[in-house]
């Protein structure tokens, strides 16, 4: 039963989501919303598990003085600080000017932006490795990337301004993005859509059950 009940729930939920998409009649039209609400409730309850796990792991690190235990202290302090300030703010804790709002805007947002900004450097290093002309495909990738990047900046058109309108670097970049790139991406998307259908069917039919704890 430990395996059958989750399989049954999965199958029912899967079928309901398919059926409600094609039947607008009541009660099918409400099922999507109900299931989504239930999922949100389960998700909200599960956050307690997550938070407890985070606190437990961090506390163990501090207690055992594991390498990097200082970071665990930062996690616990931050966790309680934001939770207490959030609760102290009452129902309007997210309003402008509250302590929670201040912490969010002046600590979380800058830290988050910093992480995001690192992406610029990683794009450069990854591009450097990816665009080495090791073989025919990589050379093609290098050339396509070169033309697209050049076509996206004013100097691209400046270098090719002697060419007729429509054949300049920006036009070439647009052509690469609109045709070969879009065609390739759509092919991948068709494969993904079919993969989704196939995987969903396997899950609904109970053929695929490794997400329930292996098999």
């Amino acid at each position: 039963m430990r395996r059958e009940i989750p399989l049954l729930i999965t199958a029912i939920a899967g079928v309901v989501f398919v059926v409600q998409y094609f039947i607008p009649h009541s009660p099918f039209n409400h099922l999507d919303g109900w299931f989504s609400d239930w999922f949100s409730i389960v998700q909200a309850c599960a956050i307690v598990l997550g938070s407890l796990n985070l606190l437990m792991i961090s506390s163990q690190k501090i207690a055992r003085k594991k390498e990097g235990w200082g970071y665990a202290v930062v996690i616990i302090v931050s966790f309680f600080l934001i939770t207490i300030i959030g609760f102290a703010g009452g129902e309007e804790f997210r309003d402008v000017g509250t302590g929670f709002d201040w912490l969010y805007n002046y600590t979380y947002v800058p830290l988050s932006s910093t992480m995001y900004a690192i992406l610029a450097f990683f794009v450069a290093s990854a591009s450097y490795r990816a665009f080495r002309a090791r073989n025919a495909e990589a050379t093609l990738l290098l050339l396509a990337a070169f033309f697209v990047m050049l076509g996206r900046v004013p100097i691209g058109d400046l270098l090719t301004m002697w060419m007729p309108e429509g054949f300049r670097m920006s036009n070439l970049a647009t052509w690469i993005m609109d045709f070969p790139q879009t065609a390739g991406q759509r092919a991948i998307m068709i494969g993904i859509a079919l993969g989704l259908v196939s995987t969903s069917l396997r899950v609904i039919l109970g053929i695929e059950r490794s997400h329930l704890g292996g098999e």
């Binding site: 607008p24 979380y108 991948i188 993969g195 490794s210």
Partner: protein, 418 residues
């Protein structure tokens, strides 16, 4: 002495005379302004009184719903203009079963549609719109009494249903075929073939394996696909007595992943080696999670990293950090925008459908492999229609042949259904 009348005359000094004249001028000016402003006030009043109502008001039943929606369309008032416009808004009124009008909404200038989402199928509705101006309003002609209807099937999605049905039938057919013992050929997927080698490498180096299941929850099929691969990876890890770290950004994924790893360790006959701490929750916040995983990579220096699931901007940050510590990386996602980053930074990448095929591929179960064959039927259909559509579009553009145009229209209708 008789005083001469001339001497009795009052002599007004120049300054006083000037002041008197100025006073008179002001009085005349005010009077004339007041007199002049009267006709203007009248004309403004006339203009506001003449604000035009909306026209061509149409109410129609919303197609394919449970009968709770009626849509209204109208042409805004001619006085609804950006420059010198008189309209300040619109009020939508509804009468139910010829009762008193109820105001449903106040809409801003420029509005020309409204959807009544509180209709009931047994009632008769009529609607009108009141155009609002500064001091006046104008009521439109009311719509004919109507009822809303509920439908059983969304016919707009008929073609989609047909396509889904054919693909699903093909999947089920091949699953049944495989069950009967027919041998099916599945091409090699390099990324999945490399799993054992990658875990073996970690074991030899005495360093852990890091598994990142993306940042979406269990309601994303990509996360589900990642967990199916986790089952196989953790089984190999248990066999090799290696070590796995799995930081997650969703609590439900944490519990599901624990179950998966636990089962794998039990299947490998090593339940004692399993530890709940192998999977730990970090945070739901995208970049907070990335910072934590990056820190883990830099400190623990895993020999093998699996990045499988739904990834967004963090894909390259994680993959490049992994690359910087010399880890062998196997990545896979169904998000086309993130695939180039994984291809650039990882050793093996499961492109889209390969991620979903992984479970069937790794299990080697005939039933599961059959589903992959069914998927191929879908690909065949897609290829046929892509070629047919391309040929039809080219002929239609070049020669404008009627029947070909019809085919093209039909294809557009079939594949643009939502």
């Amino acid at each position: 002495m008789i005083v001469e009348p001339q001497q009795a005359r009052v002599v007004i000094p120049g300054t006083v005379r000037f002041l008197l004249l100025a006073f008179l001028a002001v009085v005349v000016s005010i009077t004339s302004t007041a007199t002049a402003s009267e006709p203007n006030a009248d004309s403004t009043l006339l203009e506001t009184q003449q604000v035009e109502p909306v026209t061509s008001l149409v109410a129609q039943d919303f197609k394919y719903d449970n009968g709770e929606r009626i849509e209204l369309f109208w042409v805004p008032s001619v006085d609804d203009r950006l420059v010198d416009g008189l309209v300040t808004g619109y009020e939508v009124y509804r009468t139910v079963n010829e009762g008193d009008p109820q105001r449903l909404a106040i809409l801003p200038p420029g509005a020309n549609t409204f959807r009544d989402e509180a209709a009931e199928i047994d009632s008769v509705y009529s609607y009108y719109i009141t155009t609002l101006a500064e001091e006046t309003s104008a009521k439109s002609v009311a719509t004919e009494p109507m009822t809303s209807e509920r439908e059983w099937l969304n016919r707009d999605r008929g073609y989609l249903f047909l396509i889904a049905f054919v693909i699903a039938a093909a999947v089920i057919f091949f699953v049944e075929t495989a069950k009967r013992g027919k041998k099916l050929f599945i091409r090699k997927i390099a990324g999945l073939e490399a799993i054992d080698d990658a875990v073996g490498r970690a074991t030899e180096m005495g360093r852990p394996v890091l598994f990142v299941p993306g940042i979406h929850d269990m309601d994303d099929v990509q996360t589900l696909a990642a967990l199916t691969i986790l089952g196989r990876v953790s089984r190999t890890i248990a066999d090799y007595d290696s070590k796995i770290f799995m930081p997650v950004s969703r609590s439900l994924v944490m519990t599901a992943a624990r179950e998966t790893i636990k089962s794998s360790y039990m299947a490998a006959g090593r339940p004692d080696a399993y530890n709940d701490d192998m999977v730990n929750y970090v945070t739901d916040e995208q970049f907070g999670y990335v910072a934590s995983v990056d820190g883990l990579i830099v400190r623990e220096k895993p020999a093998t990293i699996f990045l499988l699931g739904a990834f967004f901007a963090e894909s390259l940050i994680l993959a490049e950090t992994g690359n910087s510590v010399g880890a062998i990386q196997i990545a896979g996602t169904a998000r086309p925008a993130q695939l180039p980053f994984f291809i650039a930074a990882c050793d093996f990448t499961l492109i889209g459908e390969e991620l979903f095929a992984a479970s069937a591929y790794l299990s080697d179960e005939p039933k599961q492999l059959g589903s992959l064959k069914g998927q191929d039927v879908g690909k065949g259909i897609a290829m046929f229609f892509v070629i047919a559509g391309t040929v039809a579009a080219t002929i239609s553009y070049a020669w404008d042949i009627g029947p070909v145009n019809d085919v093209l229209d039909w294809l557009n209708q079939v594949f643009s259904s939502n």
